[in-house]
Amino acid sequence: MNAKNYMVLIIPSKSQNEAFARVATAAFAAQLDPTIEELADIKTAVSEAVTNSIIHGYEDSEGEITIKCRMDEYGVEIEIRDEGKGIQDVEQARQPLYTSKPELERSGMGFTVMETFMDEVEVYSEKEKGTVILMRKKFASLAKEQGVSGNEG
């Protein structure tokens, strides 16, 4: 039943929505009974991606950010999409400490945080078209249900 569940959330690129985006995504993912730490990881990764769409994708203009969250047998897949200015060099962007906006006190650690806190992070981006971040996180509780972790007593 959970396996086919999903949600789509659309918000304007206002910084006040960063907190809402991570809380809503975590509330949805909570249906799968993740651990508190897994939920915190999702919140943090979503916060990074949504903040990037606001600061880098749309800069001073306003646009829409679409957050999709799908459940699968192992956990969740989260897609965060903007139609902003896009990333010229994705490989460079993903480097720890790289930031195109040091003047805004950016740490350049957003992608590193996403990669550390999620199991998989894919980045699709096209200049002047926008950016899509696709992240996956497996939940320990589901791994057990699937029998992945082997014997249970």
């Binding site: 805004l104 550390t116 806190f117």
Partner: protein, 111 residues
């Protein structure tokens, strides 16, 4: 976000309550910089007991404070960050420049 400041010797003790992200970073920056500049203090101690969430925008804001404070010979310390915050600290390597303590008194004694 709720911010309060106290002074002990030459240390500004700033309590940070709520969530430190891109949205709240500006308020945090302004508050800390104002209080560092307008008080006879050298070091910055951030009490993170009631900080429930932080992401890499918070790291950027902390590094910014570190650069300012250390340029005049001061130190930046944090106290009692929760697990989520601590993981973001670890990933970003910020513990190399900002030391963490389990209590305010331990941090003060270490200066």
């Amino acid at each position: 976000m709720e911010l309060t400041a106290n002074i002990t010797g030459n240390i500004l003790i700033c309590r940070v309550k709520g969530e430190l992200d891109h949205h709240t970073a500006e308020e945090f920056r302004t508050f800390v910089d104002y209080n560092m500049e307008n008080n006879p203090v050298k070091h910055l101690l951030l009490d993170l007991t009631h900080l429930s969430f932080m992401d890499s925008s918070g790291i950027g804001a902390l590094i910014g404070r570190y650069k300012k404070v250390s340029s005049t010979g001061g130190r930046v310390m944090v106290v009692n960050e929760n697990k989520q915050v601590s993981r973001v600290f670890e990933v970003s390597g910020i513990y190399e420049i900002i030391k963490s303590y389990s209590s305010i008194s331990k941090a003060i004694n270490d200066i």
